[in-house]
Amino acid sequence: MVDIGDATPVRAWQRRLILILLLAPALLWLFALIVLPHVQLALLSLRERVAPHVYQPSLAQFHTFFAEPLYWQVFVRTALLSIVATALTLLVAFPIAWVITKVARGRASALLFVVCLIPFWVSETVRALGWLILLRESGVLPALLVKLGLTAVPVELLYHDATILTGLVYTSLLFMVVPLVSSLESLDNSLIEAAYDLGASGFATLKNIVIPHAAPGITAGCIVVFMLTLGNYLTPNLLGGKNSQWFTELIYTQFIVRFNWEQGAAFGFLLLGLSTAIVAVGLRLSGQRFVDVMRRS
């Protein structure tokens, strides 16, 4: 038997050790795969090659970004399209989450959730290729439009901004539905009835009761979807082709095609700064705190 008098300090010490051991894999992971490469990239982005194998610290990479209109135009375009994609995803996901939590009962509700999940059993590449088969000029949908007499000749449905947005919304849907479902599930139905009973219209109930209650879930979903969309490479590239002009493609080009790691690293940091800034602005506008959002979603 351990004497209780000195068991207490031992126990506190043991508890701390257990905590460190439990967190160790995650901390190692974070450090080795996220912090270290980012430090390396930060150093890369802040230097300039002046001669073969000769480098000096410089802000030239960032200067290039602002001097070359194509770069910052693609940057702004990526940001705007990502915001639009996030908003569209929210508009599509909200009614789905509403049906899952408030309209469907029991098995039907679970089934609907699975239906949302099913597309994610297939890899993103395969899904995007599926879209190609459907939308290309010789594909399923253009042929159908001709058969229905809506268009005279098959039209090319790929390589438009709308196509990219469709693909991005499709890819992101689940990541919006999940936090929305969890926040709508905790909304007591009698609150909705009470609002209705007190004379509120459907819209007033949505605005005054449902959205304020679901705000943390909405914010969490928007943050996740926005970040995924902004950093997405595959979907814009496959569905938008050369027209997509997605910022991640510029980064890819710098690293892999041009072998200009310094420029690519600078672009990477600009994208990181952009997503952080937009999320911060979004949180400020919606009056939410990041910690609350992450805890409640």
Binding site: D188, S190, A194, L198, G199, A200, A204, N208, I209
Partner: protein, 375 residues
């Protein structure tokens, strides 16, 4: 009928209202009226259809057939947010994302009342329910009883024709519930709004109401004043549900006018007033209120014209003024509950002691019985 409601128009009139759920009849062709300014309760066990009835009046459930008329106006195809009716929900359903004042002003805002005016009216209403100055508080800063008052204030500020209350005291602890009963009755009296209250707690219904409808299996067993329900129950269900009662199953042996002599299967004979047509040999159930029976240690002190019984004390149920004793009748071991006199005369009663008791057959009542002894 004139379009403008006159003083004699009932605030709520329900005609032949019916609702079925998947073959199960929840509300069985009900018709009743509630007078203006009265406190009307619907009392019944859970699953009796009272919640369905209330939600049909509020408009959340569409009736299969029948008519609901509120303030002289038919509610057919009128949505809940357009009815002159407000509801206090079982869990109160206060909006946690709003302050107390915003909760009370919510309905006014929906009617397009300006911000200054609705704040003024919300504050005035909070003052009337004894929560002056609480407008800026958060809902979770209030106690259970205060929340109750906010829920009522939120509805009454809209000056509804009817206020519906769905077991609002159910979530409170006993002490607070007793307190809120009195407060609810006083609130209703001071506002004069017609209250329709549903509950499974017979004490709430008796204390609060002007009229009570006892509901069972989708029908009203009896509609009357609390006194009528208690002293003149119309059915065996009402006699068993409202107040404490000794229930005695047996067969009718003979009748002397409206007094029946009943014999239990164990051979115990009691006498009770007949309710409804009962012939000799019929199965009956008789009800005797605990306070209708009297105790005596000396048999000669009992009224001579009443049957005397002997029992041994099984347990003493001390509860202040509601104290009672459980007796086992000597011959049959029938468990019989007798209220102890409030004078404290039998305060020295011991478990196991034998004692005489009797009751006036005019204060006992018997009904035809369809089942045997059960429950």
């Amino acid at each position: 009928m004139s379009a403008a409601p006159s003083v004699s128009t009932p605030d709520l009139s329900v005609q032949d209202l019916r609702k079925e759920f998947a073959g199960h009849v929840a509300v069985h062709n009900l018709s009743f009226a509630v007078q203006r300014g009265s406190f009307f309760s619907i009392l019944g066990p859970s699953g009796c259809g009272k919640t369905t009835l209330l939600r049909m009046i509020a408009g959340f459930i569409e009736p299969d057939s029948g008519e609901i008329v509120i303030g002289g106006r038919s509610m057919r195809a009128v949505a809940p947010n357009r009815r002159p009716v407000n509801m206090v929900f079982q869990q109160l359903a206060l909006f946690p994302m709003m302050s107390v004042g915003e909760n009370v002003a919510f309905g006014l805002a929906r009617r397009g009342v300006g911000k200054l005016e609705r704040t003024r009216r919300a504050d005035a209403m909070l003052e009337r329910v004894g929560l002056a100055g609480a407008g800026l508080k958060r809902v979770d800063q209030l106690s259970g009883g205060q929340r109750q008052r906010v829920a009522i204030a939120r509805s009454l500020v809209l000056e509804p024709t009817l206020l519906l209350l769905d077991e609002p005291l159910g979530a409170l602890d006993l002490k607070l519930r007793e307190h809120m009963k009195i407060e609810l009755k006083q609130l209703q009296a001071s506002f004069g709004t017609t209250f329709v209250y549903i509950t499974h707690d017979q004490s709430e219904a008796l204390v609060l109401s002007d009229h009570v409808a006892v509901m069972n299996h989708g029908r009203f067993e009896q509609l009357g004043t609390p006194q009528q329900l208690y002293y003149e129950p119309a059915t065996a269900f009402v006699a068993g549900f409202v107040g404490a009662n000794n229930r005695i199953f047996g067969q009718l042996k003979s009748s002397d006018g409206d007094i029946a002599e009943i014999e239990t299967s164990d051979g115990w004979t009691v006498r009770a007033k007949k309710s409804g047509p009962i012939a000799a040999g019929d199965h009956v159930e008789a009800f005797v209120r605990p306070e209708a029976a009297i105790l005596e240690r000396d048999a000669s002190q009992l009224p001579a014209n009443q049957a005397h019984y002997v029992g041994s004390v099984q347990s003493l149920l001390f509860d202040g003024a509601n104290s009672a004793v459980l007796l086992h009748e000597d011959l049959t071991h029938f468990e019989f509950r007798v209220a102890l006199p409030q004078t404290g005369r039998f305060a020295d009663l011991k478990v196991g002691e034998r004692i005489y008791f009797s009751f006036d057959p005019r204060r006992a009542i018997c009904f035809p019985s369809h089942g045997g002894p059960h429950g």
